[in-house]
């Protein structure tokens, strides 16, 4: 922080402290109220009937059978679905996804809602949905990313360029002393927050109350209001607790709107909760990728050319193209660099952002390719990474606002014990004969920021209420943002109440893109600054104040009082009391600093080190150690930050070794659509995971100097694990997640070796 720009107390009384979670009691007692926990009087239960085919039409329902089930109240189909004010396929805003809201009989992916059955009980609605037995006219479906015809989309991600170039990659490759070209495959994945999407909808005339988990209540409010033709302020969205989102709740999904429409249809409150199988359908996923890395290397070990090309999949009817290659423009110095994408359209649901969208899969491929290049040159993979450290952002030439990656390499390597790692693969084994390998990956995630507003109210008793539509999705936002609020207002934590998670509050931006603390926190900081300025104006103008006549600029707020540099102070409550005010309020807004972002690249960085043990005959892999060191600007709450980083690292491990949604080529449906067959790791699969926080100061990224920690952990880690597997076995598997058989059969069986 530059001095004198903010009334945050110099020490940061609350920021930086590992205080316990504000929502801890609610969560450990089971009292935290998630959407599906709401039970308004007269509640009915709605159940989605999903399509079993991936392409075609619904030709009939057995409505009589469904309605004959005792307790079934109504069946909502395209024939009787309440009207919408907007076509759910219309692009009504720059970033809006097409929704399946029973607009017609057309089916465009397996799992698409084809009807909603509403019952007095959940059991009745479920049995009604079973009895509905839709009949289909199926058409051949294509779900194989390798079999479809590619094209070049206009943009990738949420409006990012599909191609970026700096220098002449082809020329640099042609003249490079060494060339490495490798292709990597990553599987489709599904967010699977433990809390399924749920909606409890209550209509009162033309007002709508919606309890639903959301990573962006303001966006959900706009979308739902638009679809229903309501003024946005007639749509009240409440989302105080979100049982995980990971991107799946960043945009309102079709089933949530269907629950609202079902309530409209029957004129009673309705609860609709997705089944776990339905979580593999209409609420988004991470697209599979096919990625090709081409590197040109000089004899001195520097990278002359780096080209990253990704093929990604989207649905036939909407655009979300995983920007898998994009991050390669910002990680390693290269004489020439390019990132390019192509896409295919498949008969699948539209993919959506999922923790590290593009960065996760792209980092996995990049870090493997970098490792393969180091091996080609006979260099230590950490030394190779250090040698090619990007002092400026390679794709743009911009300097970084801050970058403590070298310190991350140092700290991580020291903690992990990288020194002395043998260069050659298949060099290490443990006492049980398992092959041991050590791998590294560089972690990087852009430091994004969006627009947000907040308001702060200081009461006569010196306590404050800070309000904004921020989102507690498990990351600890409610706690971290309150820490920021306390410092911004110069109040002890005990005097600050934070209200979040509702669309009636100021728009705080979404909990996505690892930007929430930066975005919402900056708005809180601005609101606090404005409020303290008002308070200071009152005090300095008040002859009875000890601060009378002191200039505003030299005042700061701390410990519930305004302070002058010379030791004079005036408590907040005293200022208000003398002014005869019951409370004062201030609003603040935050937005990215466009000038700073034009001139500087902004990203968090890290280094992840993995140790694996591999059974030499059976190919079974265990990650035995995982250490990450991360520099992410100012850390608001180190315990919460570490939880985020460790969680991300385990997602990275899972990307490398566990999670794959398997599309059945025959039906187009995801064949393993449950948590038994879609294998999210349990603790028994995991090593002790350690995340070190490396100090980093950044005066440009935002007024608070914070970068995000929500997603960076997944980057670097997946590659580190894959590289450790190679180092253990000498076998490079390029299809992820690594399957037991791919590794086992690529290794000679030990018994066979004995014969030789």
């Amino acid at each position: 922080m530059a001095e004198g720009t903010a009334p945050i107390s110099p020490e940061g009384a609350a920021i930086g402290r590992p205080i316990a979670r504000d929502d801890g009691v609610a969560k450990v007692t089971g009292r935290a109220r998630y959407a599906a926990d709401c039970r308004p009087p007269g509640l009915l239960h709605a159940v989605i009937a999903p399509s079993r085919i991936a392409r075609g039409r619904v030709t009939a329902f057995d409505l009589d059978a469904a309605m004959a089930e005792p307790g079934v109240v109504a069946v909502m189909t395209p024939a009787n679905r309440p009207p919408l004010a907007e076509d759910p396929d219309a692009k009504t805003a720059p970033i809006v996804f097409r929704l399946d809201l029973l607009q017609d009989d057309r089916i465009r992916y397996a799992g698409q809602p084809v009807a909603v059955v509403i019952g007095e009980t959940l059991e009745a609605a479920e049995e009604g949905a079973f009895r509905l037995a839709p009949a289909y006219a199926a058409e051949p479906a294509l779900v194989d990313i390798d079999a479809a015809e590619p094209f070049v989309p206009e943009t990738v991600g949420l409006g990012a360029p599909v191609e970026r170039r700096r220098g002449d990659v082809e020329a640099a490759l042609a003249t490079a002393a060494h060339r490495v070209q490798r292709r990597y495959e990553t599987a489709a994945q599904v967010h699977n927050p433990l809390e399924p999407h749920a909606v409890v909808a209550v209509w009162e005339g033309d007002r709508l109350w919606v309890d639903t988990p959301s990573q962006n209540v303001a966006r959900a409010q706009r979308r739902i209001a638009g679809l229903l033709g309501l003024p946005p302020d007639h749509v009240h969205i409440r989302s105080p607790f979100v049982g995980g989102g990971f991107g799946a709740k960043a945009f309102p999904a079709g089933p949530q709107v269907l629950g609202i429409l079902a309530a409209r249809l029957v004129g009673r409150p309705v609860k609709l909760v997705l089944s776990r199988a339905q979580m593999f359908g209409a609420v988004g996923h991470r697209a599979p990728t096919r990625q090709t890395l081409r590197l040109g290397l000089a004899d001195d070990g520097t990278i002359a050319a780096l080209a990253h090309h990704a093929r990604v999949a989207s649905s036939r009817f909407d655009d979300f193209f995983e920007p898998a290659a994009a991050l390669s423009g910002g990680v390693y110095a290269a004489g020439a660099v390019e990132t390019t994408h192509e896409a295919v359209r498949l008969d699948i649901a539209t993919p959506v952002v999922m923790r590290g969208p593009g960065e996760a899969t792209g980092s996995l491929a990049l870090e493997c390719a970098i490792d393969e290049a180091a091996a080609e040159l006979g260099l230590d993979p950490l030394a190779f990474r250090r040698l090619n450290h990007a002092d400026t952002e390679p794709i743009s030439g911009r300097p970084f606002s801050s970058k403590a990656l070298r310190a991350c390499y140092d700290a991580g390597a020291a903690r992990f014990g990288w020194a002395g790692r043998p260069l050659a693969p298949r060099s290490l084994s443990d006492s049980d004969g398992r092959l041991v390998g050590l791998g590294i990956g560089t972690a990087v995630f852009p430091s994004m920021m969006f627009q947000a507003e907040a308001r702060a109210l200081l009461r006569a008793d010196g306590a404050a209420i800070v309000e904004l539509g921020a989102h507690e999705i498990g990351q600890g936002a409610a706690t971290a943002l309150r820490q920021i609020a306390a410092d911004a207002l110069g109040l002890p934590l005990s005097a600050v109440t934070l209200r979040t998670g509702a669309s009636d509050l100021p728009d705080a931006g979404g909990a996505a893109g690892s930007s929430h603390t930066a975005t919402a926190g900056s708005a809180i900081h601005a609101a606090g600054t404005a409020l303290v300025a008002r308070l200071a104006a009152l005090a300095t103008a008040d002859p009875a104040s000890p601060l009378h006549g002191a200039g505003n600029a030299v005042l700061f707020a701390a410990d519930g009082a305004l302070h002058a540099g010379d030791g004079r102070r005036d408590p907040h409550a005293a200022v208000l009391a003398r002014a005869g005010l019951g409370a004062i309020e201030a609003r603040g807004a935050a937005a990215p600093d466009r000038a700073a972002r034009a001139s500087h690249a902004m990203a968090a960085h890290g280094a992840v080190f993995a140790e694996v043990a591999v059974d030499p005959d059976l190919g079974a892999i265990r990650v035995t150690r995982l250490v990450g060191a991360f520099a992410a600007g100012r850390i608001v709450n180190p315990r919460l930050a570490r939880s985020q980083l460790v969680g991300g690292m385990i997602w990275g491990l899972s990307l490398a070794l566990h999670e794959a949604a398997q599309f059945d080529p025959a039906t187009g449906a995801i064949a393993n659509a449950d948590l038994g067959a879609y294998r999210i790791p349990v603790h028994a699969d995991l090593p002790f995971v350690e995340a070190l926080l490396v100090a980093e100061e950044d005066t440009l990224v935002n007024p608070l100097g914070v970068k995000g920690v929500g997603e960076i952990g997944i980057t670097g880690t997946a590659g580190a694990v894959a590289n450790a597997v190679w180092h253990a076995t000498g076998v490079r598997i390029r299809r992820f997640p690594i399957r037991i058989e791919d590794l086992a059969l690529a290794m000679p069986g030990r018994e066979k070796e004995d014969d030789a």
Binding site: E127, A671, E741
Partner: protein, 347 residues
Amino acid sequence: MRRFAYLRPARLEEALAAAAEPETAWLAGGTNLVELMKRGVARPARLVDLAGLEDLATITPLAAGGLSIGAAVRNADLARHPVILRDAPILAEAVLSAAAPQIRNRATTAGNLLQAPRCAGFLDPGAACNRRAAGSGCAARGGDGRDAAVLGATEACIAVHPSDLAVPLVALDARLRVAGRDGERTIALGTLYGADGASTLPPGELVRAVLLPAEAAGFAGHARYLKLRERTSFAFALVSAAAALRIAGGRIVAARVALGGVAPRPWRPAEAEAVLAGAVPTDALFRAAADAALAAARPIAENGFKIELARRVLVRALTLALRGTPARVPALAASPFAPAGEGARHG
């Protein structure tokens, strides 16, 4: 799910009478049946709960030697029962490698043996499945076939049997005591499974107990279950093997071998046992036994790897069995990463 009548008889005769009605299912732990009912795969009109039948839940010695394991003995109780740990610790190792603690607290011995396949086609009531509806076809044949059987698959069904417990039980020549309205009979566990793995018991018959023969205890000192799986908990076997040896004078006096995850039913390769019997244990012998066990294997689609993996898993299981049963079931039961070298308790 379909509405059903729920009955909880207190006596076996009542239970058998109740089960004689059509569309009746036995309810034991419910961990598989209730899931199938929720999916719409099982739609019974009546459930006969076995919870009231006390004698189904005990483990008792048999007069002629061996053990009777009640059909309703919970998996968790089986895995910690001192007599099982003494006479057949391989059963504990297999059970503890399966499912998750909550499931093992409820799932029963017979329920485990009779559990339904995990084939996606079977589990989707809208898909064609000969096992669910004879003659309807097999949706799994269009899939990638990774999980399909490589031994004993039929034209009708390529799903593998999901039970871990059944694998060592088949190896150890377990039998079943089965009750019907006409009385009781005993059958070999192997004959419980038809060619497609489905139960051969007529509707209304009830497994009362699993009978472990006296000879089983002779293998207790050299018996291991090894399971290759893709998550350390709640994952079915990609391939698994039970290997039990009786060793005397440096020779294998008798061998019992079975494979899981490779066939529609727990697979007992007599050929492998014949290779092992009477021989001096060596790596080469174990490889020969594994080759014999998989000689008839044929891939369905993209699952040829299973044949080689099964060979290696069996070789490893035999190697571990030769080393001796550990004094305690390892924390990561049946895992290739279970701590080794805890010392052979039975020598």
